[in-house]
Symmetry: C2
């Protein structure tokens, strides 16, 4: 039978795609100063919106190479006295996930305020079947200087992006991060932000806001498998402050995981003997009670506990484990859209649980 487009939701004027007036807006290139693009490990050298080098010197799987174009975890930061802030975006394709809205897949969102006090203001509204859009985030009738953070899309490449401000307004460098150390997190689709409703709700972005640290998101949906090549690439990133490994859900067979995790850690340690490493185990799937995923998870949990204890015993004082078994709470089954991928509810709980553990680790960095 013919597929009919449902217009039911269009009956709500609050849900309509608004044609915003962008008259008097000047468009600026966020790749240039005073804008700062953060969250891409190789951006300073290559000026490309990409999470790995354009040509990695260590061969990576084709899927990882493609997923590196997803802009998850990256941010455009600046200050401005403009009354309006807008964005113009050209995506690498159109959103088409069944369990994640276009706002999370291909949208930007906007936060305003000084570090530690950032408040969410809005998300780009665009037709889900289009690959380009313009959007006015806000109009504020005050000429004072505002600190702005725009979070990049989680599951899409961004070919081009321009930031719009009022003609005649000033743009200044953003308020700085706590320091120049980066939190580098390697993991899965959950790490990448699947399935947050909008970019700012990926747990790495929530934590970046809370700590005022630059986070480098190297979550590769379905493909963060602990390949040694990725560990070697991570070593190329400047100023690491902490490494987080969160790839258990994609680890492959237990035998592969047993092999890859010690090797991954060992490669990181070959260059950085003392930079903190935090291993986070897998959060619970909703279907643990009816599948064999529980026993598999517990086997891997035991292995990880033993491995980290063993490494500590051998003298590594800067490695630790976060057992994620209870991170999603007693009603963990409510926290995902599909049994596995957290919603904003799941991501908020993950951030809340990871925060105190990471606070201890990053606290040491602040003292230095």
């Amino acid at each position: 039978m013919p597929v009919k487009k449902s217009d039911l939701w269009k009956l709500d004027k609050n849900m309509k795609l608004k044609g915003n007036s962008l008259k008097g807006i000047k468009w600026l290139d966020p790749k240039e100063r005073p804008f700062v693009v953060s969250g891409f490990g190789w951006f300073e050298k290559e000026k490309i919106f990409r999470r790995l080098p354009v040509k990695p010197q260590w061969k990576v799987a084709d899927a990882v190479n493609s997923l590196a174009n997803c802009t998850s975890g990256a941010q455009i930061r600046f200050q401005t006295n403009s009354k309006r802030v807008a964005i113009r975006v050209l995506l690498s394709g159109v959103a088409g996930m069944h369990h994640m809205p276009a706002t999370g897949v291909g949208g930007f969102d906007c936060y305003i305020g000084a570090p530690g006090k950032k408040k969410y203001l809005g998300t780009t509204v665009f037709h889900h079947a289009k690959d380009s859009y313009e959007y006015l985030f806000f109009t504020i009738n005050k000429r004072d200087t505002k600190n702005i953070t725009l979070n990049f899309p989680l599951y899409m490449g961004v070919k081009a992006v321009l930031v719009g401000v009022d003609t005649g307004s000033k743009v200044l460098p953003p308020l700085p991060y706590k320091n120049d150390k980066k939190v580098i997190i390697y993991g899965t689709s959950i790490t990448q932000g699947g399935c947050a409703s909008r970019p700012g709700m990926a747990f790495t972005n929530i934590l970046s806001r809370r700590f005022n640290y630059e986070f480098i998101n190297l979550g590769f949906s379905g493909n963060g498998r602990g390949e040694p090549e990725l560990a070697k690439l991570i070593l190329e990133i400047d100023n690491p402050g902490c490494f987080i490994l969160d790839y258990e859900a994609n680890c492959g067979s237990f035998e592969q995981f047993e092999k890859s995790l010690p090797e991954f850690i060992s490669i990181l340690r070959s260059k950085y003997a003392k930079i903190p490493i935090l291993v986070i185990t897998k959060v619970r799937y909703a279907t643990e009670s009816i599948s064999d995923s529980l026993s598999k998870r517990l086997t891997r949990l035991k292995f990880q506990k033993k491995l980290i204890a063993c490494l500590k015993k051998k003298g590594d004082k800067n490695i630790s484990l976060l057992d994620a078994s209870n991170l999603l709470g007693k009603d963990f089954h409510e926290c995902s859209v599909d049994g596995g991928h957290p919603t904003d509810l799941g991501f908020m709980r993950m951030a809340n649980g990871i925060e105190p553990v990471l606070r201890k680790i990053l606290g040491k960095l602040w003292i230095r």
Copy 2:
């Protein structure tokens, strides 16, 4: 430039649309006993998946009439000893919202377990651009009897649905609700469930699970404006146990609200002098700090407090107000996808805040 379909997310095998084996499944009509379809006020008479009568005896706006076809808040309930439960669905159209995934717009989700202990098991996976799908919710290798709840889509009409179980398995009536009283909630897009990731996370469905009561969701996206015709239609629903009015966000001008709310309540009271009425004020928008929505909200809040106090004073002991100002918490700005419509995070917090208030009200019903 040409729009290219992005395949980046297809690189994750966990996110692929799986072709489930449905061999040996028999398809049953949930409109017939022992299945119970709940959440539709006129279903027993009309056997139609619709939230208002097919031909309302009071004239309603065209938009409301269309939105009544969205199946928000409805459930298919049954018990079975089948090892597998599947579903076959024909929607009224295809999902196309920019800020809500297809799983919430047009998907079903599945809970298993006795009332008070229901656990989420899975959501229908289907191509976002299709209007029909089949999906196997689970395979459990036990022949014991399971209590199943399937939540209907939030922003779509359902033309047809069949439930699939193993050939040779038994289907029994569901475990019953606490009693036959219905919680009838009239409101906005937020009431309707915009923008939950999946049906079970609309706050009315969360509360229905927690209380084991039938909830009738009369949230009309953008169109719950307190029209007297809707109050008159609500009077037609059998066995009301509690009325909740939650339409402030769509109320129109303050003058309209000032007129409509007392009238709406008065119509309900014309038939039901003692059935509890709970008025819930609007949750906070993210942009309150930069727009005039805060002062407008506070004006309406003051009016509602005064109105309810006045009605109480006049002798109505069964009316109450829930001030929703703090329902979303201190970081209320994080709880929506677009500044207004809650995500699962926002809905969970709404349910948590409404629960104790409603528990007092429904507690009285249990005693009777």
